[in-house]
């Protein structure tokens, strides 16, 4: 287990380094931040000072060297836009996204497992068909469209929830509901399929033959065995939730890391982009580790 974690950490570091190199050099090609941050009538001297101050006059390779040097000492550089350490800006935004993601994924997991198990147990009934249809629609829906339709319906016409921003519990409802839909559809399908396979296996027949009741069969015998593929999808979807977060946070004006990234890209705030990439990558790495631990917890064969 420890060796595996070590190996994974090294290979993740290598891919992260590749990504940083790519983004660092490509982002310097997009243009000069001084044109964006200084007024249009700024003199050439002011531009020079600005570039000098932020080290943009050095050759790109030298800039990269400086950046790596600072990075090793835990310094992610300053945000150009906010004139504060980039890491602080990113972490502040990340907390918002993390809360959003954790709440959504918890709800999704519970709902998908319950509905999916019941659907598999009552396969072919009306409940099963409605659940399959819902999961199909959920998996096919464009989240940005659902978001704006929901805003028109629930915020503008009915006035139940605010259109955007943060502040009260009510502000969280629409973003969570929109983020909920796609992973719910996908995970539900996997839970149902996996439970169907498990319910058809010999040990369930044995349990039935012994006279075990329905409820213990679902929750004690099958669910645990059916969970392995489900956990894989949950992991994938949790990472993919960050994709949805970009869209949802932009539409709902939610100050998370997805919106921060879009804003920083548009404003050429390089240090923030890089810091955001690293923080996100670390979060995904930790989550994959958790998934592996969950595997080992559920399946004794993996515990070596």
């Amino acid at each position: 287990m420890q060796r595996m974690i070590g190996k994974r950490a090294i290979s993740s570091l290598i891919s992260l380094f590749g990504l940083i190199v790519l983004v660092f050099f490509l982002s310097r090609l997009t243009g000069d931040p001084s044109a964006l941050f200084l007024p249009v009538d700024a003199s050439e001297e002011m531009r020079q000072n600005f570039r000098e101050l932020h080290g943009l006059n050095d050759p790109v390779l030298v800039q990269f060297g400086h950046y790596l040097g600072d990075l090793v000492r835990g310094d992610f550089g300053d945000s150009l836009r906010k004139a504060r350490p980039a890491l602080d800006v990113v972490l502040e935004a990340f907390v918002w996204t993390l809360q959003l993601a954790v709440i959504t994924m918890t709800l999704v997991t519970v709902a998908a497992i319950v509905v999916g198990s019941v659907a598999a147990f009552k396969v072919g009934t009306k409940f099963d068909r409605v659940a399959s249809l819902l999961s199909l629609i959920g998996a096919s829906a464009p989240d940005f469209w659902i978001a704006i339709v929901a805003i028109v319906l629930f915020s503008v016409n009915l006035g139940w929830v605010p259109t955007s921003g943060t502040g009260s519990v009510w502000h969280w409802i629409l973003p969570i509901a929109v983020l909920f839909i796609r992973p719910f559809g996908l995970i539900l399908q996997v839970v149902r399929g996996s439970m169907l396979t498990a319910l058809g296996s010999p040990y369930v027949k044995t349990a039935r033959a012994k006279g075990v009741k329905n409820r213990p069969i679902i929750f004690v015998h099958t669910l645990r065995n059916a969970m392995l593929p489900v956990i894989t999808v949950i992991g994938d979807q949790a990472a993919a939730l960050l994709n949805g977060a970009v869209v949802v946070e932009t539409i709902f004006g939610f100050p998370g890391v997805g919106k921060l990234m879009i804003d920083s890209i548009l404003q050429r705030d390089f240090n923030v982009i890089l810091a955001a990439i690293m923080v996100t990558a670390l979060a995904i790495f930790l989550m994959n580790l958790l998934i592996d631990l969950a595997y080992a917890l559920l399946d004794p064969r993996i515990r070596t």
């Binding site: 891919s15 829906a141 464009p142 058809g200 990234m261 890209i265």
Partner: protein
């Protein structure tokens, strides 16, 4: 019921008359609808701009944000007009071309590259395979939409770049599936037989292994088409995908967003078309999963009711 019968091949007392793929498709009404809808969409994508290109860009300022469901301005305005008085129905038809082209291009490119690399990784020595898999890990290690956002901003958004970016983010899917399948198939008896008979590696991979794994890949590609379409729509919606005056469905939703409260139909119809298309792709993909698998095809052949 399907779970218990899935593992065992059913004993068929009287083998039913063989049905072709069309017959099997007809037996599943949902899949039939999906296929018909997709054929219409592809038709729009191919011929829409030719037939309705002028109508879609012609402005009629008296029809600005015209309400849908009335025929007083002619059939083309049945779904309403947009902010510049252009009819929505022809615009949706014309926008199908870019939407489908980007998705088809990205899926085709990632399919070809991913499957080829997967065949190599699955059937070659360790080092090469390791290198390919690590490359896939690099791409997989980061959310695809964020990656696309970053790269697109640097590359300048255009149809070609959009295809490249989306293709790159989807390559690992085909790569991993192909490799996993090859690793399993290469141990089977018929591959060993081919090796003993002296077949070349090229022949074994392309004539013996590829046909076995192709149905899986085609099913995944259908599903992935929907995913890529959604990704393109989201990027266009965020303003870093296709740029006006080119149109895609995602861009239309984005343009209609500012008129949401006064003219909901501007954003509603293109979104509905996206949802219908992705849903059709999902339905067709789950039908194909059964139809293309010889061990499960009997379910469709005996009537399709329990499929």
């Amino acid at each position: 019921m399907s779970a218990t019968t899935a593992e065992t091949t059913p004993a068929k007392p009287t083998p039913p008359a063989k049905r072709g793929y069309l017959g099997m498709l007809w037996a599943d009404k949902f899949a039939t609808f999906a296929a018909i809808f997709l054929i219409i969409v592809v038709f729009c994508a191919l011929f829409g701009p030719l037939l309705l290109g002028d109508a879609a860009s012609g402005q009629n300022l008296r029809a600005r944000n015209a309400a849908p469901f009335t025929l007083e301005r002619g059939f083309l305005y049945i779904l309403g007009g947009d902010a510049l008085g252009r009819p929505l129905l022809p615009r949706i038809v014309v926008a199908a071309q870019n939407t489908i082209m980007v998705a088809a291009g990205a899926v085709a490119a990632s399919f070809l590259i991913g499957a080829t690399l997967g065949l190599i990784a699955g059937y070659s020595r360790k080092i090469l395979s390791e290198v390919i898999m690590r490359l896939a890990d690099v791409i997989m290690s980061f959310p695809s939409l964020l990656l696309a956002v970053i790269v697109l901003y640097i590359l300048e958004p255009s149809v070609g770049n959009l295809i490249i970016v989306l293709a790159i983010t989807r390559i690992p899917i085909y790569l991993r599936t192909t490799r996993a399948e090859v690793l399993e198939v290469r141990e089977r008896m018929f591959v060993q037989a081919a090796q003993v008979m002296g077949a070349s590696t090229f022949r074994i991979v392309f004539r013996h292994i590829l046909p076995v794994i192709l149905p899986t890949l085609v099913t995944i590609a259908t599903l992935d088409f929907a995913f890529v379409m959604l990704a393109e729509s989201a990027l266009s919606f965020l303003g870093i995908g296709i740029q006006p005056p080119e149109i895609t469905w995602g861009l239309m939703v984005s343009q209609g967003r500012q008129y949401l409260t006064s003219a909901w139909w501007l954003a509603f119809w293109p979104g509905l078309v996206i949802i219908l298309t992705t849903m059709s792709l999902n339905l067709l993909s789950s039908w194909m999963r059964v139809a293309l698998d010889p061990t499960q095809r009997w379910r469709l052949e005996i009537g399709g009711k329990n499929a």
